[in-house]
């Protein structure tokens, strides 16, 4: 019995490592194509429709979720801060949370749900109907034709969506805190400026680049490697979202740790009180 368990663990480990190796090769081939003729018209014409799909069409959902998260933060923190008589400092905690963590993570998760699954479904269907093989047979590398534009669209546009999410989060928080809960506007913004600096806004935007890359690569990879039939595509879509979500959370942790080290090394600890 223990031998069988060890065998099973070994088999899972080998399978996991093999899949990870395949994913790294896939990512490597994508990066390689990024260096070749990226500004040629025949490549740009593939990128623009993807940018529309990933960017423009995601704006409403990212904006709405961003705004409501800012509003919820204001509602939840107001009671606690008021108990301490510190409600005029609400701006720093709400805006810091929005630009550093909630804005980029939420935009990433929304993109993973809206685009990651759709990428997998589209490429998975192309895979099971032999359209990807057809591309290869016609001498067009499917990585260049299908993956690079989708990957680039995610990398370039998630930071912009994050800015939208941040902006609406900040406005949502301000609206609830100042306009409905009666926090005075001037100290609200004063403490916001004290608690949040450019580096912290940039930190959120920079990590959105990596979240976008992870969503694009995972979505495309799952589509390229999905199993046969409708059930294969369906399973790949679910895996795509779950894996992207986990990737975002894990990357976020490492970024938070790294940024904290750098920031305290450069500027020391910056208190919000």
């Amino acid at each position: 019995m223990p031998v069988r368990t060890i065998e099973r663990i070994g088999s899972w480990t080998i399978q996991g490592l093999a899949s990870f190796g395949e994913f790294c090769t896939f990512a490597g081939r994508t990066f390689l194509w990024l260096t070749v003729g990226i500004f040629q018209w025949k490549n740009l014409r593939l990128l623009l429709p993807q940018m529309y799909e990933v960017g423009v069409r995601s704006v409403p959902v990212v904006a709405v979720t961003g705004a409501f998260i800012g509003m919820v933060l204001a509602v939840e923190t107001h009671t606690q801060f008021k108990t301490l008589g510190q409600e005029f400092r609400l701006g720093s905690i709400i805006n810091l949370s929005v630009v550093k963590q909630i804005g980029p993570v939420l935009a990433g998760v929304m993109l993973a749900g809206r685009i990651g699954g759709a990428l997998t479904a589209e490429l998975g269907t192309m895979n099971v109907t032999e359209q990807i093989d057809a591309l290869r047979v016609m001498g067009a590398d499917p990585i260049r034709y299908l993956v690079v534009p989708r990957f680039l669209a995610c990398v370039l546009l998630l930071p912009i969506l994050t800015i939208y999410s941040d902006l609406l989060g900040v406005l949502g928080g301000w609206f609830v805190a100042v306009k409905t809960l009666g926090v005075p506007s001037e100290p609200y913004w004063q403490y916001s400026a004290q608690g949040v600096d450019t580096w912290q806004v940039m930190e959120g935007i920079i990590k959105a680049v990596f979240f976008g890359g992870a969503i694009g690569l995972i979505g495309c990879y799952k589509g390229f490697t999905c199993g046969a039939g409708a059930s294969g595509v369906g399973r790949a879509c679910t895996e795509s979202f779950v894996t992207s979500f986990i990737a975002i959370i894990v990357l976020n942790f490492f970024f938070a740790h790294l940024a904290q080290e750098w920031y305290t090394g450069l500027y020391g600890i910056r208190g919000i009180f």
Binding site: K42, R136, V137, M138, D141
Partner: protein
């Protein structure tokens, strides 16, 4: 030349040569020491039961699958070990008709047929439009250019896919079950089209099918694959008059006694 030895010597000047191919998917052994050569300008039809490895064989020739062991040669060069990028120029010399057409859903018929021309040539748009119209006319569908693939019937989709396959004027056209899923009349249109393209474009045709009527009509030579090996290799007449029980039953479409017994059990 029926029932050739598997290790028979392959003529060195063949256009396509497969040497001692082995391919497995997990425990399933699909190709087992399969050797085959195809002469330039000939029409070879590969027949065999579903799951016998016909499509797998076809995909080895264009590098969509790599053999576990063995060699694939095309026009004097070994291609089975070439990396994907180096394989691209070779692939442009092939046209491939997939079983379900594999037209790109998001592109119109015109854009589908133009795809290889846009990708691999620097022809101006007017020239590409002229070639697309010419190829669509060749397959008997001059009017469908602006429609989407989803709006076409199964037979029309295959003909459009064929127009796309011949857009770059390939030297070899590979057909993966070209008549599957079509009614007999539409299937015959595809057969006639394959013959017409062979004569008009002087291409080498490699057809995989289990439609015997189609095989006898198209082929100069028929090869039967059974359990990953070549079971029979000869002219259509030789295959039709084969004394081999397995070949005979396949040609006549007779079920195996063992399978019938299992059905009645």
């Amino acid at each position: 030349m029926l029932f050739q030895s598997l290790n028979h010597s392959i003529p060195s000047m063949s256009f396509i040569e497969l040497k001692h191919l082995y391919k497995s998917f997990g425990p399933l052994k699909v190709l087992r020491d399969l050797s085959l050569s195809i002469e330039k300008g000939s029409s070879l039809v590969v027949i065999g039961a579903s799951g016998s490895g016909k499509s797998v064989l076809l995909k080895h020739i264009v590098g969509l699958l790599r053999p576990d062991k063995g060699e694939v040669w095309f026009d004097g060069a070994r291609i089975d070990q070439l990396p994907e990028r180096q394989l691209m120029p070779t692939r442009q010399r092939f046209g491939f008709l997939f079983q379900m057409g594999a037209l790109f859903d998001s592109l119109t018929v015109d854009e589908n047929v133009a795809f290889p021309l846009v990708e691999h040539t620097k022809k101006p748009p007017e020239e590409i439009a002229r070639i697309v119209a010419e190829k669509l006319k060749m397959v008997g569908l001059p009017e469908v250019g602006k429609t989407m693939p989803a709006e076409l019937s199964g037979g029309q989709r295959k003909r459009v896919a064929l127009a796309r396959a011949i857009a770059l004027e390939p030297q070899v056209i590979m057909y993966d079950e070209p008549t599957t899923g079509l009614d007999p009349v539409r299937a015959d249109v595809i057969n006639e089209l394959i013959i017409k393209l062979k004569h008009e474009l002087n291409v080498t045709s490699f057809v995989v099918t289990h439609d015997m009527q189609s095989a006898f009509k198209i082929a100069d030579r028929i090869v039967m694959i059974h359990e990953g090996r070549i079971r029979a290799d000869g002219t259509p007449d030789e295959i039709r008059n084969s004394k081999d029980e397995i070949v005979r039953k396949f040609v006549l479409g007779e079920a195996d006694e063992e399978e019938l017994r299992a059905l009645n059990a």
